[in-house]
Symmetry: C2
Subunit: 477 residues, 2 copies
């Protein structure tokens, strides 16, 4: 007899033939009611045991965390809280779970405790809901791009180029760690390393994605990227997943349209496909915030917040306008900002972004046309000679969700910029080739996947939205 | 006016309003016929220029590789080879391409040459078709698992565990490469490294995937994996993408069913979605093989071969049966194998696998129940005490496509196996926990994505099915 998943059984919602289901015991109440979960849905199925008809020693083994196999009849539930339940006819314990030793007891655990038991934390409602949503968002992303004519591209993880410039890198090597081979001048002889040169973990697939956009038209990457920065915060990971679309013949306006449409589409996907998980996480967040002062609570419940983003236009504001708003803002005048805004050209800090999004506009904001000096070398210089066609999308509670730009497509302008920043042309000969042969306007953006999952789940720490977080001093599991 | 893609225009196949299209010139014939490609499809759209009405200097800039913008009318084609064409009204060169310097001339280039110009090789028909198919297969994989109740899971790339045992690893570090900090005993002090311990690039996400299967039920990974092995062959990469499903309550038979169903589904997807690209690659392969002796040519054309796999059952054969077949085979008796098969327990080499698949069974073969001694520690020991519930799927022309097993779910048996292989329990405490708390039968497999792309495209070298291959002495781009 083939087994059913709990999701299948609950969706059926009617009396049927005999059923077989395997899963893990969440609770066993009154020696009679087993709440069984198999991960297929947030919801448990209630399995009702006539304890008089079962061996006492068998029933003792029905403990939280035990894996069991249940055979029985699916019937309309007599109790409240579920429409159907299983009248258990046969019961088998597949794997015991010691009632005291098992770390995931049926009680509230701190997220810190669950991080230390990350291999078991998806056995809780919160983390199973988070990871189902993460999976749904991942599929929604692939679906969106595929349906819109994009090709998925796997850019390299190990890179021999250190010109990406997005941050500190991890070195990848097979040289003897203690006694690496040396050149005559005492420097390390990387010619003897696996790749014959110094290599690192990628910080971005953008430059390679550009090569494919300039032949296949519309491409996107979805892969891991790395930052060797000693940032022990609730928003940074050393290893995280990034989505980077890149489109030929698209300018910055098109880029903003794409990013907004994309974000709305994938968020709408989870509204349609993950209602149970979102409702659970919404309640969780409300509970969590009860202990916080009113001013620190989320202004909207989780689902309302997601719907708000899906239904409303993002506010598009130039950097110059944003500086004006910030300069004249209350926290600036009252010197409440840690970094006061006095002049055009200042790099915006998280406090400024949050003010714009959460206090001033109260909706997602797209800032564009940033000063060239605070942005990357490959961004397209505007005709004013001092700003670049860059954009950042800022989300309430999250800050920067997307960073993108129109790319500098003019060979001479790009070369000058690289020269000014001491980026050797030999390093990026292939990137320059794109500007030599059939160059064209093109644009793209990067989206930190974990930031999106945080927004969609209401989780406050990035370590809680990826299975096994990599952070300074932590590479467990 | 919004631009159209070539794919959209060709699909329309009727006379319409004015159209706008941007792309790259493939050829410009008789100062009149531009073959324009934008990557949206293998096919070019023919743009017909009344050269009398255009500036001569403009027309000189219509060279292979140039990016242009064409405005005109879509009309029924007068010539053969296409149903529609564009009568060009306006023409703009967006980016020139020097007619002599441009590396991708309209002629046959060797794959070796194109590997050196991997940033431009998707501007050829062959590589654009290969990469579109790669993208299609990638989406088909996500779609299959999502529709079958699996959750996508991102397992860590940087791992602190060296017990995965699937091969040589790359070290990841931020320590000073030349003068790493040392302990008193002279060993490297990895406590000062970024993660506070020695870390490497993952060789497999399986062990972590097991933790999620044992809570979420059905999960899969699709991510990069690494081997620091000095294998300079047409079938090995140092960095490649792997798909690893893992399912709770599924035994080895279920695992074989899943793998077979999965492979057929994703191959069927490209038959339905990538007919143009497959037809082109089929012709390419036939051309390429014309110079080979009859015996070395593919037994079936590409599409027929894919259909054959989709339509026929894979042959399931135990290792023991396979050894009997090989022992009594002609090449074994005539001593043609490099490694002669004499005894049960021998590890099968590529020559043996190819004999079974290509000569004996002439279809994909699933070998199962291998000797425990030649397989990994986590595979489920059979009751005979000498074989494990492992399976490999062998494909014609490719060899091993899938390797999988039922996992050892019994704590004591697993501990003994680890002890025998000197794998410290402290290293895999979390993996052992799965056997302590609610253990159950579970299984999974790994599929090397590039092997699948090779099979689906008929490409003979693995470096030609991934954008930027990483191999010994090569991390260019």
């Amino acid at each position: 007899m083939t087994s059913n998943t709990v999701a299948e059984l609950l969706a059926q919602k009617t009396k049927t033939e005999k059923v077989s289901v395997k899963g893990w015991v969440r609770t066993f109440r009154a020696n009679r009611f087993i709440a069984l979960n198999d991960g297929s849905t947030l919801n448990n199925i209630q399995c009702v045991v006539d304890f008089e008809n079962f061996n006492e020693n068998l029933l003792k083994r029905i403990t939280t965390g035990a894996a069991i196999h249940v055979l029985g009849e699916l019937v309309e539930s007599q109790g409240k809280g579920q429409s159907v339940e299983i009248q258990v006819k046969e019961l088998e314990v597949l794997g015991d779970s010691h009632p005291v030793d098992y770390p995931i007891q049926p009680k509230k655990h701190s997220f810190e405790f669950l991080r230390k038991n990350a291999h078991l934390r998806t056995r809780t409602n919160t983390f199973s809901a988070v990871m189902r949503l993460r999976s749904s968002l991942s599929f929604a992303i692939h679906k969106y791009f595929t349906e819109n004519g994009f090709y998925n591209m796997h850019t390299p993880i190990i890179t021999g180029s250190d010109a990406e410039g997005a941050g500190e890198m991890f070195r990848v090597s097979t040289l003897d760690a203690k006694h690496p081979p040396l050149n005559e001048d005492g420097s390390i002889n990387y010619k003897e390393d696996f790749f014959g040169k110094e290599t690192n973990l990628t910080v971005s697939g953008q430059l390679e994605a550009e090569t494919y956009a300039m032949s296949l038209g519309k491409v996107y990457t979805f892969g891991p990227t790395f930052r060797a920065e000693n940032s022990n915060t609730s928003r940074h990971l050393a290893e995280f997943w990034m989505i980077e679309p890149e489109v030929a013949f698209m300018d910055l306006d098109g880029n903003m349209d794409l990013a907004e449409d994309f974000l709305k589409d994938v968020l709408n996907y989870i509204l349609e496909h993950n209602a149970d998980d979102l409702e659970f996480l919404e309640k969780r967040l409300i509970d969590e915030e009860k202990s916080k002062p009113q001013t620190e609570r989320s202004p909207m419940p989780l689902i309302e917040k997601i719907k708000f983003v899906v239904d409303n236009n993002f506010k598009r504001v130039s950097y110059t306008e944003a500086i004006d708003i910030l300069r004249n803002s209350k926290p600036n005048k009252k010197k409440k900002f840690n970094y006061l805004i006095s002049e055009w050209g200042a790099d915006l800090q998280s406090e400024h972004e949050r003010y714009l999004v959460e206090k001033h506009f109260k909706c997602p904001v797209i800032l564009f046309d940033y000063p060239a000096d605070i942005k990357a070398f490959y961004m397209r210089l505007n005709e004013d000679g001092k700003t670049v066609r860059a954009m950042d999308i800022l989300f309430p509670g999250i800050g920067e969700m997307v960073g993108g730009s129109q790319r500098e497509e003019r060979l001479e302008v790009l070369k000058e910029k690289m020269k000014a920043l001491d980026i050797p042309e030999e390093e990026l000969w292939w990137y320059l080739d794109l500007r030599k042969y059939g160059t064209a306007v093109h644009s793209g953006f990067g989206l930190g996947f974990e930031r999106l999952v945080m927004f969609a789940t209401g989780m406050g720490n990035i370590r809680d939205v990826i299975p096994y977080p990599r952070t300074p001093q932590n590479a467990e599991f």
